[in-house]
Amino acid sequence: MTTRIFVPRDTTAISLGADLIATLIQAEAASRGLDIEIVRNGTRGLFWLEPLIEVETSEGRIGFGPVTESDVSALFNEHFYHGNQTHPSCLGLVEEIPYLKKQQRLTFARSGITDPVSLADYKAHDGYKGLENALNLSGQQIVDEVKTSGLRGRGGAAFPTGIKWQTVLDASGEQKYIVCNADEGDSGTFADRLVMECDPFMLIEGMTIAGLAVNANQGYIYLRSEYPIAFDIMNQAIASAYENGYLGKDILGSGRQFDLEVRLGAGAYICGEETSLLDSLEGKRGLVRAKPPLPAIVGLFGKPTVVNNVLSLAAIPYILHHGGEAYAEYGIGRSRGTMPIQLAGNVKYGGLVELAFGIPLNELMNDFGGGTRSGRPLKAVQVGGPLGAYLPESQWDTLIDYEGFSAEKAVLGHGGVVMFDDTVDMGEQARFAMEFCTFESCGKCTPCRIGSTRGVEVIDRIRAGENQDKNWELLEDLCDTMVDGSLCAMGGMTPFPVQSVMKFFPDELRSARQE
C-alpha cells in the first residue's frame, strides 16, 4: 500500500528548506524502491518545528521535525515511513502536540491537514457545507446569521461584519463588489497568508457567501506582492473552483453568479487601508479617501462594496455551516469567536495560536511561546503591528479582547504579537515607528507626511542629548497633532508606539546607546 508522507508548502516551511526535503525524500524512496506518495500539505503553524513532515499511519499522523537535509537517509534507515518513532526528530502523533491540542481551531481547522489545492480534500473536511446552507437562505438570512455570530473585522478596526454587510445589502444598485483585504502589511502577522496558502478554498467559500448575502457577483482579493506563494496557491484554487462549478455564472446549479480574481498590490503599506486599497484596485495611486462616504455605499468604481479582511471572510464558512450562535459561544464580552494570534519576533515557539478571545497575553507568550528565542528576559511586546503600542511587563496580563486592549491604549489589530528581549533599544524602536510612517504615508495630509519626518528629527535630537526637555515637549505636541489631525490611522496611530516608549521606557529614549 502507498504510504502518504506530508511535507508542508507554506512560505515558512519552504523558507526553512521544505522543498529540498521533499525532493530528497522522493529520491531516497525511489532508490529504495518504496511506494510512497508525497503530499504537499499546508502548515500546522508550529513554526519552530518546520520543516515538520508527517507520515500517515492507522493510528494517526506521526510527525518529525524540524527535519534537516542530513536527517533524511537516517529517517529511512529507521523506517519512519512505517511510523517507527525511533528517530530523534520524532514528535509522536501530531494532533497530540500540546501547542496544537490546546488550541480552538475553527478557522484553521484544516490547516496542515489537507492538500491546499485539492478541492476533494476540502470537501472531505467539511468544505463548502456553509455555501450549501447559504444557497438555501435569503441574503437577509445570511446577514442575520453573521450578525448573530458577533464577528468583528479582523483587519484592525474590529467593526461588526454583519452590520457592514447589512449596509451593502440595503444599498441600491445592480453592481456591487466583495473585496478581500489581503494586504497583511503588519509586521508580526501571517494568519492571512496561512489561510491563502493552507486553505484557500475557505476564503473562496467565504467570499462567495458574502456575494450571495449582499447580491454582489464580482469579488477581488487584493494581495500584497510580498506573498508570491500565496498568489500561486490562491490562483490554483480559484481555477479549480471555476472548473467544478463553485465559481462562475451558475454556482452549483443555483443560477447565482460569483466571479473572483486575485489582484497584486505593489509594496505599499497604506494600501491596506481600505479606501487606499480601493483606489489601488482602480489602477490609481493608493491615496486615502475621506470618509464618508463609506465604501459600503460608494466603494470600488463608486459601487457599494464589502471590504473585509481575509480572516473575517475565512470565518464565514464555519458560521454558515454551524450557525452564528455556535461561533458566538466562544469569546468574552463583545469579542466573540476565536482570534488567530500570531506569535512572532524573538519567540522560542513561534507560530499560529487560534483560541477563543479572553486568554491573557502572557499565557500566550509563555505557555505557548516559551519565552524568547534568545533565552534572555522578555522586555517589550508590540501587539497589533507597526501602529501598535509597545507593552511593558505591567501590561502583559491584558486579556486578548478588543476592549481590554483599548483600555490600555493598545490595539489588538490583526493579532500579531512581536516579542523583544532585553537587548532591544526602545529609543531606536520609537524612531523606527516614525521612520516607517515617512516611508509609507500616502502623502495626502500634512500631520502625517511632514509630522513623521519631524518626528524622526526630534527623536534623533533627544537621543543625541540635545535640549532634551524642550525636544521632549516638542515630541509630545507632535504626537498629539498627528493623532488629532491625520486623515487616517497611518498618521493617527503612528504616535502610539512612540508614546508608549515615552511613557514606559523614557530613560531609553533619553540615552541613546553607544554603538
Binding site: S187, E226, R263, F420
Partner: protein, 165 residues
Amino acid sequence: MKMTKHSDWRMDDVRAIIQELKHKPGALLPVLHAIQDYIGYLPDSIVPVVAKEMLLTRAEVHGVISFYHHFRSHKTGRHVVEICRAEACQSVGARALEKHAKATLGIDFEQTTSCGSVTLEPVYCLGNCATGPSVRIDDSIYGRVSEDRFDELMADCRDTMQEAG
C-alpha cells in the same frame, strides 16, 4: 525566473501585454506588473506607450509607478535581494544583518553590485515573522538568515550569474 535579459525586450511585446490586459477594470496595476515581470523593471520609454494604449496621461502613469515601492524605473542586477527591516525581524537581528549585507556587498539599498549580480532592497515584512531574519531573493523567501547563511546565499547568486554566462 520570470525575468528576461533586460536588453532583449521589445516594445511590441510590451504592446501585446497591454492589449491582453487592458480590458480589465482598473487594469493599470496588472499591466505594470506584467511589464515589470517581462523586462525586470519599468523603463521610462514604456510610459508613453502605456499612457496611449490605456487612454491615460503620462503623468498619471508615472505617478502610479513612483507611488509603489515594488515598481522600479531602473534596471536591476540579475537577482533582487530584499532584506526585511520590519519589527519582528528587528527583534532577532535584522539590523545587524542589514549592516553586514551592505558591508559585504559594498552597496547601499537600491544599488547594484558592480558585477551586476545583486540589487539590494529593503522590504517591510514578508509574513515570515516567527522565523526571521527574513530575506527574499527574487521569488524565494528564506528564514532565520544568519550572516553566514546570507554569505552562502550570495555565493549562490554569484554562481548562477557565472553559469548564465
